[in-house]
């Protein structure tokens, strides 16, 4: 799925984002001219991007470390605090989350949205996490097994 098919769409996004440009950067500060230029570059980039690719998402919502900071206080639906924005290093099956390599694809938990957003974005879920962390406490497997 392409996010933005035409230049006209890109222009709409640009206009839409201007007043809330900060939103795209995850801060509520006023957008500086540098940010503004960066925003333009992103819009051009995502206009040809694939929405199922995490890079596309991170163009606006990233970088990944910023996302991690944003959700540092996240509480899962079952009431347990856990940062959902973690990495899963395939090369380290015994300790997959510590190396900082391989962020989990955004679309494992989130549904991509159109730009501009026309429909309400469904909330993300932690199904992927609890497929392994079946007790929902997100403790290490070796705590019990």
């Amino acid at each position: 799925m392409r996010l933005l098919k035409t230049l006209a769409q890109a222009a709409t996004v640009c206009l839409l984002l201007q007043p809330v440009g900060a939103f795209a950067f995850g801060s509520t500060e006023t957008v500086s001219s540098a940010d503004f230029a960066a925003l333009h570059r992103y819009i051009i980039k995502i206009s040809s991007a694939d929405a199922t690719n995490s890079e596309t998402c991170l163009a606006c919502h990233g970088p990944f470390t910023a996302l991690q900071q944003k959700t540092a206080d996240y509480v899962a639906p079952n009431g347990v605090p856990v940062n959902p924005h973690i990495t899963f290093d395939m090369a380290m099956p015994n300790d997959p989350h510590s190396s900082g390599k391989d962020p989990i694809e955004c679309t494992e938990c989130h549904q991509p949205h159109s730009i501009p957003i026309t429909e309400p974005v469904p909330p993300a879920n932690t199904d992927m996490c609890v497929a392994c962390h079946h007790t929902g406490t997100f403790r290490s497997c070796s705590n019990c097994h």
Binding site: A76, P77, N78, G79, V80, F88, M90, P93, N94, P96, D127, V130, A131, C132, H134, T135, G136, T137, C141, C144, H145
Partner: protein, 531 residues
Amino acid sequence: MDRRGVMKKSDDNSRRQFLQSMTAAGLGIATSGTMIGTAQAATSVQPESWDEETDVIVLGYGAAGAAAAITAHDDGAQVLLLEKQAADAHTCNSKLCFGVFLTPDNKDDAIAYMKVASRVNVDMPESQDIDDAMITVWAEEMGRNNAWLSELGAPGFVLFAAQGRDANWPGNNAIKAYQIAGSDGRGEVGTGMFDFLHEKVVGRGIDIRWSTPARSLVSKDGEVVGVVARKDGRDVYIRARRAVVLSTGGFNADEKALKTYLPAFPMTFYGNPGNTGDGLRMAQALGADLWHMTVLGGGFKSKFDDFPTAFVLSFGSDAHIVVDKSGRRFKAENHLGGYSGYWNALVYDTVANTWPRIPSWLIFDERRRTAGPLTSTMFGAAGPAAMYEWSADNSREIERGWILQADSIEELAGKMGMEADVLTAEVERYNGFAADRHDADHGRMAQQLIALDRPPYYAMQLLPGLNNTFGGPRRNARAQILDVFGDPIPRLYSAGELGSLYVQYPQGGANVGECFAFGRIAGRNAAAEQA
């Protein structure tokens, strides 16, 4: 006692007189006089005199018996606890377990959840198999588990499960399970949890009789009035002025009952070899109705002929696959765990007339062997209950023949009695999936696709492996045992896994939580009977 721990009627009963066939008592036919039905012999006898008496007799000392004894004592009853095993060889399931108990955090959600978990077929509301009153009492009483433990002096709790088994079931997020907090901040497993209860029982001066198996219940005019127990080679007749609580655990170590009630054979258990269904037979002898005889929870476990119980396994994350008798994988290995995992073994081949997955085999390579013991050393037989010490590098178990070793997959197949071609082709195919990071056959998660390529290779036999049985005498919301016509058998109560109310295992901790909740209910109501 014979090999399976089934007690034979002793012949030292010369002073007792055989009165009447137990069948009559079992069907509730009115008879006068006092009858003793041994759970094993279809006869009843009348004692000339009682050897001793108390208010409430609790049979079987696990978490359920402890909760019943503590509660009955605190409600003013004199309590006697009879335990079949010796104090230094006491391996009740409550000690072998992980120490996790369920305490839902709100009643309405717990009821909603349990109404789904109580269906024989979760898709069909009409298949709910315990009534709403029972579900309500379960939700209320289970919800008080932590408060009760705190009142007893528990220092705190460690959250074990923050949700139930299925996010699609209503109330899932209220299904919380805990362990008692240990001094190191980690949760106590079964041994620590049971030590805590034991301290409370001993602290109250409750009389515990070790090495004293109950043999049968004594009834008079349909009411339970006492127990015949076996102590030092002779029968002891103990009168219960108020009531008897059956908490002797399940029938996991009674081969006859397993053959009668379970769908396949062998299905193996990693619990107490002393849980031989004694309470089941004692209640049956008085006409008890049965329920949940086929309910089980577990996955795949290993059992060896020269050891009395099965082992909890830890497949680990190093290279391993699980294959059927022919050497073929049948399921993503990461989906073989959990409380329903054993269903994957229960597939019958109606053409070849065989159970192709009984046994199955765990195949692994040198990396897994050296990564740590194949069993859990945190709980179960090789845990702190110390029934067995499993070697850290699995070498002793290789020597014992529990784990087969070979330099090649072909040779390993020969040792398991499999066609070498089939297993070799399967391992090659799996190694291809590992290289592609994609399991085209069973969709195993990519992170677990690790090639089996580091000889020597190993195999360990797997059976459908269960923690405990759930079946037993049917009980009502007051923890009374019901007869086949639905009427309570007067002064007879039950708690724990013997006749558990579960229809599906709702979540880890459900058994021990039920032991606490129905132990308290049974203890309360037993103590409230008129002496």
